[in-house]
Symmetry: C2
Subunit: 233 residues, 2 copies
DNA sequence: ATATAGTGTGTATTACTTACACTAAGTAAT
DNA sequence: ATTACTTAGTGTAAGTAATACACACTATAT
């Protein structure tokens, strides 16, 4: 299939891979998905989920596949954000890695059963309490977090982390965790509601031992419109 | 050097390349640098400058080298912004391309004498009047323009396009061209000056057949500080 | 009934954004 | 020297958005 390449293009043995920073919001914490590696190099180390891009898949397809293998989920919000290509970032050769971040609704306890051989297991870890990571994955994570910090200020991506029905406090929580600072409750609500993408439901939170909060969902049509525009938080 | 790769990593013949969208501002126009290709595929077509990443250079180094070969200039502001990896984007094989944009002070008439064999010649072309481009380079350009539109709103990168001494009208011009809309002169000046990174010089524009404007330069120290923060234009 | 813990609401002040039009200064032509 | 031309340079008022701030309400648990 790639005979032409050998004949015409200057090339050397090289590989590209995808690495994913998968954010999830659960029990008031911002977490990312890590795996424990089952292969050399860095066997038994913790790492970001990632894999080699196959010859017949595009980068986006590859990222989607990796997440599917890991979580069983499709239709996840993801976005490519940076490509890491230092010469020695992989001890076994030249591997350029294209990084994606993903935002995931944790909601129910979705069991993580990686279908891949390269990972022993997968688990969620609070972003403020990460172990030492393999390769340059700490750097990849740092840049990913920085990216969604910027992004959340200008586009309504926070919803991607929440279940279908959520309270305003939960939404505020997501913003506070990503931005790393406290926000004023009244101002937050005023502003959020002013975007006009939230729909108040006739339903309240359940199972809490205090006053139950109203549940909201977001209006997908208006949300899609807003997504195109720049908002400012 | 990359023996390990052959032994351990799944791989196939593949290559990565860098493509650059080099913006320049000249005579009131926003331009980019194009080359006329001297090699197959797409021989004689116009294309963005770009090249294969060498085995011993990082992505940033490679991008810097490409610009140096093309313009003779070093120390150019550039930033990686997206990686294009569709399976069939290159007719001869799998080539993933990491895209950079660069902002360049045109100022004097710097002759463009490409030192590379793959380009017959290089020239500047107004962004609103681009010819048909090779590969997926139109798409790469589109995304690059979109990127600096976003970026210029939040970070003071416009200066990178201007000569050391410039007038406020020139600065406004850059903003208008990138954002693609007219701005109010008084409001623009008010806001720009409020950032506190501009220094008024004791010097005026020369060689114009009308009232000469004051020249400004920007204060690099304050500029560096501001660069870290988010501004909003 | 009482303690507890989180929900939900309004206003006043300040800062920022927008819209808008004329005079000043220099050059070129007569 | 006068005039015509072209761009430079300036202020204010009105509207909009951001911020700071405190207490009563409601559901549950004991």
């Amino acid at each position: 299939m790639f005979n032409d390449l050998e004949e015409h293009l200057p090339h050397f043995n090289s590989t590209f891979s995808i690495d994913c920073v998968v954010f999830g919001f659960d029990e008031g914490e911002l977490k990312i998905l890590l795996i424990e590696r089952n292969e050399e190099p860095f066997k038994d180390w913790y790492a970001l989920p990632g894999n080699i891009v196959g010859p017949d898949e595009s980068l986006d397809q590859s990222a989607t596949r990796i997440l599917k293998e890991l979580t069983g989920l499709g239709d996840i919000f993801m976005e490519q954000y940076y490509t890491f290509g230092d010469v020695n970032r992989h001890p076994q050769g030249r591997v350029v890695s294209i990084a994606y971040y993903a935002l995931l609704r944790l909601g129910g306890d979705k069991a993580l059963k990686p279908l891949t051989s390269y990972a022993k297991k997968a688990f969620w870890k609070n972003v403020n309490d990460l172990p030492k990571l393999a390769f340059d994955h700490q750097q990849i994570f740092d840049k990913g977090l920085e990216k969604i910090k910027r992004r959340i200020k200008h586009q309504p991506i926070a919803f991607e982390l929440l279940p279908e029905k959520f309270t305003l406090t939960q939404l505020q929580n997501v913003y506070e965790l990503i931005l790393g600072k406290k926000l004023d409750k009244r101002n937050f609500r005023k502003k959020m509601l002013s975007f006009g993408v939230l729909k108040e439901l006739d339903e309240k939170q359940k199972g809490v031992s205090f006053r139950a909060a109203m549940l909201y969902k977001f209006d997908k049509r208006k949300y899609a419109k807003l997504f195109g525009k720049e908002i400012s938080f």
